[in-house]
Symmetry: none
Subunit: 220 residues, 2 copies
DNA sequence: GGCGATTTGTCACACAACTGTCACGGGTTC
DNA sequence: GAACCCGTGACAGTTGTGTGACAAATCGCC
């Protein structure tokens, strides 16, 4: 979030964190741009009236080398500003004061749309009530952390990252184990062990399902 | 554009055509959904208050088997409605009366985002109310996933890919089974099994019909 | 550096699902 | 009416998957 007003920044941050987001903040465009280069967020919220580089320029800079979803949150409600911001590369535009519910819904809609795009290696994936934090190396099921082994974790990440599509045992072997040969049954065993931990009823898997003859997948 | 108010529909259509869009219109959700199935548009504008099926349901139906960008244009400005529409699957929400410039800019932004979207849109085929998703390894009938076996799946893919044209048993044997000899009756059996799953009345096939003496086909 | 605990990979068995063949019967064509 | 085409149920053989047991490897901890 790039926003110079301390009060707004704080209240939005708190509200977003309540929704489960991890928020990084910056008070100026310069700071925000640098930050985005160092440790990229998967979505950017930006104000238009900023000291120094203004919001429009900031959006163009962000857009220049990044496909990250950008949402403008501004007090200016002029059609002209809205059009200019969207033309600059923003994906959405909300007028302050924003209803938190609406912001949250618009973020979800945008992220849903952006996700279907080129595999963005986001460090936090949500599949249903499963929350995979790749960087933190932890997985939360309904908010409760799970004790996964390293292999289970990597397997889950791989499946979660491609939620909705089937991954063959061969693909999983290559990506999780970095084998390009070897017994495919190995995958079965680990899938079984993973299921013991992430499924409510491991006998009838719901989160990690097998597609007979093809492989495994996690439904969206 | 799905919009029941004639005046709004006309004025929006004219304005959009000025911007270079080709616009198809429908006055009801039913008509719009049918239209979208027949000759899909690449973006859908939808009103919320419609006679018959309402806007929310319409969005869900559209979204069920299509990734098309959806923009809501509604007179209702309640946060609750906005959130509900976005949750149902809409990508953006504008409150009437809309500034044409803003609508246009939002459409451009959305289309820009959507285009960078689906990694491989080619692997999703739609034949009537049947939706074949190759990469997810699943087939949806009216939005409901079907449990097909590997052979059934490949058979269906082959037929769907050439919807409208007759495939001989020989061709199917070659393409699905990779046989270049063998009993052609094998195809019959699997077609029968497939019909049990995809036909409403397997006795009188509608989606997968036989062309006596030639083979099978799926009508468009 | 050693030791117990955990994790990992292999194997074998059991079971369920799928496949291909066949035979019968109804319908169609000539 | 005969020849042919097609749908379908039954069935046995095959394949794919889940799972428990076990030994080797690795890890964590003094």
């Amino acid at each position: 979030m790039i926003e110079d007003d301390d009060r707004i920044r704080l209240s939005l941050t708190l509200a977003l964190e309540d929704e489960g987001y991890t928020v990084h903040t910056a008070a100026t465009a310069e700071e925000g741009l640098l930050r985005q280069q160092r440790e990229p967020a998967d979505t950017v919220l930006v104000d238009l009236m900023l000291p120094g580089i203004d919001g429009f320029q900031c959006i163009r800079e962000l857009r220049r080398d990044d496909d990250v979803p950008i949402v403008v949150v501004s007090a200016r409600e002029d059609t002209h500003d809205i059009v200019a911001a969207l033309e600059a590369g923003a994906d959405d535009y909300l007028v302050k004061p924003v209803a938190m519910k609406e912001l949250s819904a618009r973020l979800r809609a945008l992220r849903r749309r952006a996700r279907t795009g080129p595999a963005a290696p986001a460090d936090q994936l949500r599949i249903g009530d499963l929350n995979v934090r790749a960087q933190a190396g932890e997985v939360l099921l309904r908010g409760q952390p799970l004790a996964l082994t390293r292999t289970e974790f990597r397997l889950l990440c791989e499946l979660a990252e491609h939620a909705g599509q089937v991954l063959s045992r061969q693909q999983l072997l290559e990506r999780v184990w970095e084998y390009d040969f070897g017994d495919e049954r190995l995958v079965d065993v680990h899938v079984g062990r993973l299921r013991q931990k992430i499924e409510d009823d491991p006998g009838t898997p719901a989160r990690l399902v097998t597609v007979r003859g093809l492989g495994y997948k996690m439904p969206r």
